[in-house]
Amino acid sequence: MNSKSVMRGMIGFYIFLFFFYLFGPLIVMSITAFNTPSYPQAYPFEGFTLDWFVKLWNHRAMMDGLKNSVIIGLGVVSLAVPIGLSAAIIMNQIYHRARGLYYLVTISPLLTPGVIIGISTVIFWKDMLGLTDFTKATFYKGIILTIFGQASFISAYCLLIFMARLTRFDRSQEEAALDLGASYPQVFWHILLPFLKPAVVSAIVIGFLSSFENYNTTTFAILADKTLVTVLAGEVRQGTNPALSALAVIIIGISLGGAIIYEILKRREQQKADLAQREAVLAERQEAVA
């Protein structure tokens, strides 16, 4: 009994250490965002200020970068989610001997360092788009190249998300719809896509966030443009600035908010399912009586 409680104490201590490691640096950084010294310092706390948030707001390069990041994120999502979905559906239909090779090709971007994805994207598209003056002037842009580079591996994330969901798809749903007279495209739009909706949502969220925070691929593919992350990298390289801490505080705040909203939605969904369950049990009981 005693050794068990010692064990439990040790586990607790270990979990504490783990999360201290995970959150400690972020907490310290958050404190510096509200401290007055221009060198980010957590201790001594010289005075409370919100100036660094104002500085952040007025930081032109960062705001431009943010705009680009959002554009790129939206572009990547609108490219990678349909690609991931298509790839997952083809994965399900492809003959099993070809499937291994197909899997390797589609998943390889996940095993390639982001730096290399960025470089290969730039080298390839510079020559491709350079073939005509028109394409060079219109498409050879950092934003477009970054979308291409990021989409190459974010599509693979999406593929994995869709594959996981598809394995739980009940094929008899598809057959039932067919049997009732639906065409194959109708089965896709009426049955399969609604079933995949949760996966579509997570693919969009994960795809956007992965794009938003990507550095390795972006730093090459963005060419002369800037995204929020590359601006940040430049700032950090140059030195230290509490405005960066302020940005971190905002990001942490947003992700905490998102996590809480997610949890609430999840609970509400659970409640709904529980309610339906209760209804079913009630109906079942009535049936037994009748």
Binding site: S172, A176, A177, L178, L180, A182, Q186, H190, A276
Partner: protein, 361 residues
């Protein structure tokens, strides 16, 4: 409107494996027809061939006289009720029921009306806006039936739809299914491994084993006059005595079994010297001596009392017991354990069939 279904020398192969072997069958319009057999006997394959999910490797399926080759499941005048029902969990009850009409391009208001009609039919009025997950097992069953009937199929195919329900509800649903069939008057093709379901509901039954149709007949004939050893051993309880035919005279044959020579009806006209199995149903046997070539004796192993009847288990050949069912009205004395009892039967109710594959217990 109802259409008949003709299977003309249907063979379905999955690679090396033959799931259905040369099945020929004529199901009449408006008939309640069952395929009965153990799992893996090919009955579901036949159903999927009729519904169009499978193309037969050989042979022709005709529905209402029309060759179905190359016609997909969504173009056939059939509707299938799946074993797991396959209701659409993300749609409401009404949307489920009218899905077939939606893909046929029926307008929303009209669908609404149709849904209400069908909900009335399945005794779930006003429940159209519910989610499928809010329904009980029996209600889901009815929604699945309504969904299939909504498209006005000429043939309704049912793939063990009652297997998920509990016993009491299952028995209730049998009556309901039969009543619905008589109401709508279309052909029902019903797949089951439960002989009770097949016997109570069907006009005719096809008993299947290993991809081969063993016998097609009405329930009474299947029970009283099985054509093969498999049917005799699969449908209902039966005692089997294997042996060699020693004498065949007129309608009867005598089989030399481990319990001595025993006589039975020789419906297959077996000749002396042939291997045969004599089948005697437990309820056809009596615990008393009778004619010498219709009497044998064995030691009682145990007795199961079941109220209106008792099952007496006696030592048989090998591991299989001989069972005699004694009904209470007979008033016969039930022997105690380890007593040696004489067993006799009416030779008209003993059936001599050629040796063949038996149903696994």
């Amino acid at each position: 409107m109802s259409a008949g279904v003709e299977l003309d020398q249907i063979t379905v192969r999955f690679g090396e494996f033959t799931a259905v072997d040369n099945a020929t069958l004529d199901i009449k319009g408006g008939e309640f027809f069952s395929f009965l057999g153990p799992s893996g006997c090919g009955k579901t394959t036949i159903l999927r061939t009729v519904s169009g999910f499978l193309e037969p490797s050989d042979g022709t399926v005709r529905i209402g006289g029309q060759d179905m080759r190359g016609i997909g499941p969504n173009k056939r005048p059939t509707a299938l009720i799946f074993q797991n029902l396959a209701l659409f969990p993300l749609m409401s009850v009404s949307e489920n029921i009218t899905y077939g009409l939606r893909v046929r391009g029926m307008g929303k208001a009209e669908r609404r009306k149709k849904a209400d009609e069908l909900l009335e039919l399945i005794a779930l009025p006003g429940q159209g806006d519910k989610l499928v997950s809010e329904l009980s097992g029996g209600q889901k069953q009815r929604v699945a039936i309504a969904r299939a009937l909504a498209v006005q199929p000429q043939v309704l195919l049912l793939d063990e739809p009652l297997s998920a329900l509990d016993l009491k509800l299952r028995q209730h649903m049998r009556n309901e299914l039969r009543a619905i069939q008589q109401l709508v008057g279309i052909t029902f093709i019903y797949i089951t491994h439960d002989q009770g379901e097949a016997l109570t509901m069907s006009d005719r039954i096809a008993v299947m084993s290993d991809g081969v149709i063993q016998q097609v007949a009405d329930g009474k004939s299947v029970y009283d006059d099985p054509k093969t050893a498999f049917v005799a051993s699969f449908v209902g309880e039966n005692n089997a005595f294997a042996g060699t035919v020693t004498r065949a005279d007129g309608d009867y044959a005598v089989v030399e079994t481990a319990f001595g020579p025993l006589r039975g009806r020789n419906s297959h006209g077996l000749r002396p010297g042939g291997r045969a199995i004599l089948f005697i149903r437990p309820e056809s046997a009596r615990l008393a001596a009778g004619a010498p070539d219709a009497t044998f004796s064995s030691k009682v192993k145990n007795v199961a009392f079941e109220g209106n009847m008792s099952h007496v288990f006696l030592e048989g050949i090998g591991k299989k017991d001989v069972t005699v069912t004694v009904s209470r009205q007979d008033g016969a004395a039930i022997p105690g354990q380890d007593e040696v009892a004489a067993i006799s039967y009416d030779p008209n109710l003993g059936l001599v069939l050629p040796e063949g594959k038996m149903a696994r217990e």
